[in-house]
Subunit: 188 residues, 2 copies
């Protein structure tokens, strides 16, 4: 058994290409070429391109949220601090050379129908991120954790889009300073 399975190779390559070039713009032939894998192997693991897209989105969700939580907890020591360090984690992400916006916002843009499976996965990802924020808000003792999580979530979305579309790499800083107002308000 190899250290990295063929399936993982395929998903990793597809993830990179879908993220940087888009889903429709990335063909199967390109994926197998860069993954160093035959077409038959790909279709042995995934019965269609759409299933491969779903698999990459599921993996992205898992890895992204794990990284986000780890970084947020590394950069803040208390729940209250973490409600703000989540913006620092985003700031670091935005600064990365490979940053190409939020893969789930991008997926929602390409798979516009609300009932498209890929759009649904995107919405679920957003919900899970907000659940994490709400958990932090509750832990910090916010008087309205639900509202605070909605507010901070909206600021996160805004800073990601601003960074991606307009290339504003300081948007996370701005969002953090705005978030501080609502955190203080909720924890007064």
């Amino acid at each position: 058994m190899p250290a990295i399975s063929k399936r993982e190779q395929i998903v990793a390559t597809a993830l990179k290409l879908f993220y940087q070039d888009g889903f429709n713009a990335t063909g199967i032939d390109r994926i197998i070429k860069e993954a160093g894998v035959s077409k038959k192997t790909l279709y042995n693991h995934f019965k269609s391109k759409d299933e491969l897209i779903l698999a990459t989105l599921r993996q992205r969700d898992e890895v992204f949220r794990n990284t986000l939580m780890r970084e947020t907890e590394r950069l803040g020591n208390t729940a209250r601090e973490r409600l703000l360090s989540i913006f620092d984690a985003h700031g670091n992400w935005i600064q990365e050379k490979s940053f190409s916006g939020c893969m789930f916002i991008n997926a929602a843009a390409e798979f516009a129908a609300l009932d498209d499976p890929n759009h649904i996965i995107a919405a679920e990802h957003k919900r899970l991120v907000r659940d994490y924020i709400r958990g932090l808000a509750e832990e910090a003792g916010a008087n309205d954790a639900e509202t605070l999580s909605l507010q901070l979530n909206l600021l996160l979305e805004g800073c990601i889009v601003d960074a991606y579309v307009s290339g504003n790499k300081d948007s996370a800083q701005l969002a953090k300073s705005m978030a501080a107002v609502f955190v203080e308000q909720a924890l007064a």
Copy 2:
């Protein structure tokens, strides 16, 4: 001379289809069929699909910003009120049945490279919207119009994405309540 030129027919149809289904997912054949126009006519007016996309984005920018400014000014009587009524205008837009997110965010997602002409147009559109906000902020006498415009702009982006990806149709209300904090702070 017909009331609506062929060129306008094509752009209007392309706009609708690109917006609701995406750019790569919408083929030329579909556009000419729905526009009721021959392929030769389309390529007589636009030398490539990419030029058609650029033309539709330019038109969308113009129409969107005109509508936004008109609505914002209808819903607010003073510059200060308009810094908030711009969120009401967005709220009404989000409620529309045809709402499919921000066409420029969608374009940036499909044309990921920062130097892609379509991505550049998207960034310019965002800059022009923020210029409008900054103008209102200056008119209202904000002590730091630049910062206030960045803040309100970030809230707008956030509420659009939240409405589109997660289907949260109340996000403009939330964003408006958050914006009020910063407007008050800047106009104290």
